[in-house]
């Protein structure tokens, strides 16, 4: 499909005519060509976000939020003005919270076992995690749906939670395992020699050390859950989550409240990330 390729390549290319005039010309162009490309790609990546934020302030009349009609804060005052949307957001946050807790607990144990112990069958567990991460989302969703249909399980809030834990626990396990591999086992041995039981050792020694990995895994699980559309759409029944609402609305017209909620979630995520980065930097110093 050569035509597709050539059309898609419309992505802004820094046009740099070859200038063999001066010997240094090539080196100079090489110096700014790469940053220019990098910034262009970053601008491309951020364009939809900027549009989303800006059109949250759009003074729309009627249902459609397409043309710029002036600045307003009305959409922010009226964020929870659409019952279906508010309900969808509540569902998403609730499901993300529950499934994050479950996936973090299950995934942390798995990651600890794989990172610390050599045991019969560990290879097949790794393979299972790998298959779970590598399997296409449509297939994961379709397989769960097949099971629920066959067993006559009604789909809704609960089945979404079950699905979200299923697809995010492997990510937590992999993250925790990476942290666990770097852990010095003599710490735990020392705790045991000093008379701490396995539970005390876990909570007072192991957990604090692997905490960054656990937290990173939990954040990942939360982000995956709140963002998921494909697997959720297969197992949602009549329950609507935030991505499902937006997808449904994309056919009829997305209300500006979606932009506002998207902006608020974005800001929250960015603040958490910056705060995390700053606090970890401070600790290192």
């Amino acid at each position: 499909m050569a035509s597709v390729t050539s059309q898609v390549l419309r992505a802004p290319e820094p046009t740099e005519p070859a200038k063999p005039k001066r010997r240094s010309a090539r080196r100079v162009s090489g110096r700014w060509l790469l940053p220019a490309w990098g910034w262009l790609v970053i601008a491309w990546l951020c364009a939809p976000i900027i549009v989303m934020i800006v059109f949250g302030f759009n003074n729309t009349t009627g249902k459609f939020n397409i043309r710029w009609q002036g600045f307003t804060l009305r959409n922010y005052r009226n964020v929870f003005g659409i019952d279906g949307l508010t309900n969808a957001l509540e569902n998403s946050l609730g499901i993300a919270a529950i499934s994050t807790v479950l996936a973090t607990i299950l995934g942390t144990f798995l990651g600890m076992a794989l990172g610390r112990y050599r045991f019969r069958g560990s290879g097949s567990v790794t393979l299972l995690l790998f298959a779970n991460i590598a399997a296409p989302e449509v297939v994961l969703g379709a397989a769960m749906l097949s099971m629920f249909l066959t067993l006559g399980v009604p789909r809704g809030y609960l089945t979404i939670v079950l699905a979200h834990v299923m697809f995010s626990l492997a990510y937590v396990a992999v993250t925790v395992r990476a942290r666990m591999v770097g852990l010095d086992p003599s710490m735990e041995e020392a705790a045991r020699d000093l008379g701490a039981g396995p539970v005390t050792t876990f909570f007072k020694v192991t957990l604090p050390i692997i905490m960054p990995g656990v937290l990173a895994g939990a954040l990942l699980a939360f982000a995956l859950s709140i963002d998921d559309y494909i697997i959720t759409s297969f197992n949602s029944g009549n329950t609507v989550t935030f991505p499902l609402y937006v997808f449904g609305a994309s056919r009829t017209g997305v209300p500006p409240q979606v932009n506002v909620m998207g902006t608020l979630i974005f800001m929250f995520g960015v603040l958490v990330a910056i705060f995390g980065a700053l606090s970890s930097r401070r600790k290192r110093v």
């Binding site: 992505a11 939809p48 610390r116 045991f119 590598a134 449509v138 494909i230």
Partner: protein
């Protein structure tokens, strides 16, 4: 394999206390693995087996489906929807290639020229992940629509004719897929490039290699594991995606994910839907496992986690 021995990272000879490795201690890793394993068994392995069984049933939604080991559903499904299968793999391949072409220079730029701002630049690159995938795709639909900000402006400048559309074309779908999965390509390549020892570059310069030769013969081969991990992280989700083709595409860009969804929810033809899912999984997973076998499962998993 003498079960549960503690595996220290530096792996000194296992002189560790054989006294303590009693029965209870040997079982520790199994207790740790059990809950997560059970969850995956019940909600990942069992459903997959059930889906396999559903795929060979016959019947309809009214009368119910019965197991008849009707394997020809597979050949029928393939011959009916091979166009969409091939299209999905094609879009996946093109988008993955575009991700490499667009993303590699960016990863190179951040890894070698990022200086003190590396983490800030990476953060900018990851900003899209703080916005829902569906919203980002919807945002492109909004920008590229016929009356949207891009086309109406271009039309005003006389750059494009009034018959020019972007939406509903394969360009829009592949563009959206490339956009959505680009960071998954840049990150592993960046991680691989970051591990390249600068001393190697100095050495190649000392040996009179030009910058380009050093890139081609030293840096690029060393970054290949990152490229491989990136291909894995982008190709599978791109080929199986249907959000982009639903929001940005039209009837001519239907991908196999759309078909599976329609078969489940509109046509209520569960055997065909299950068979299609299975074929898709077989194609992608067999590909992925061969690919991972070639490169080592752990390496790819670690690269994916990094």
């Amino acid at each position: 394999m003498t079960a549960a021995t503690i595996a220290p990272p530096t792996a000194p000879p296992a002189t560790g206390k054989p006294r303590r490795a009693g029965w209870a201690a040997k079982l520790v890793p199994y207790w740790l693995v059990l809950p997560g394993w059970l969850w995956l068994a019940v909600f990942f392995i069992v459903p997959t087996v059930i889906m396999l069984s559903v795929s060979t049933m016959t019947g309809d939604i009214e009368a119910g489906f019965k197991q008849t080991f009707h394997w020809s559903t597979y050949t029928d499904a393939w011959s009916t929807y091979s166009v969409q299968f091939i299209r999905s793999l094609e879009y996946g391949a093109i988008a993955t290639l575009l991700c490499i072409l667009i993303g590699y220079p960016v990863a190179y730029w951040i890894a070698f020229r990022g200086g003190a701002h590396k983490s800030s630049l990476l953060f900018l690159l990851l900003l899209p992940f703080f916005v829902s995938f569906v919203i980002r795709t919807q945002s492109w639909n909004f920008m590229l629509s016929d009356n949207g900000m891009v086309l109406s402006r271009l039309r005003g400048w006389g750059v494009v004719s009034s018959h020019f559309h972007i939406l509903q074309s394969s360009t829009a779908v592949v563009g959206g897929l490339t956009y959505n999965f680009l960071p998954f390509m840049v990150l592993p390549i960046y991680v691989a490039l970051e591990r390249v020892d600068p001393a190697l570059l100095e050495a190649s310069a000392d040996l009179y290699a030009s910058k380009f030769t050093a890139l081609r013969k030293v840096v690029f081969p060393l970054s290949l594991p990152g490229v491989f991990a990136g291909v894995l992280l982008t190709f599978v989700p791109v080929a199986a995606d249907y959000v982009n083709s639903s929001i940005l595409g039209g009837p001519k860009t239907t991908m196999i994910g759309n078909i599976i969804q329609t078969q489940y929810f509109t046509n209520l033809n569960y055997p065909v839907a299950a068979a299609l899912s299975f074929i898709l999984m077989a194609i992608l997973l067999v590909g992925v496992f061969l690919y991972a076998r070639l490169l080592g499962t752990d390496d790819v998993l670690d690269a994916a986690a990094a």
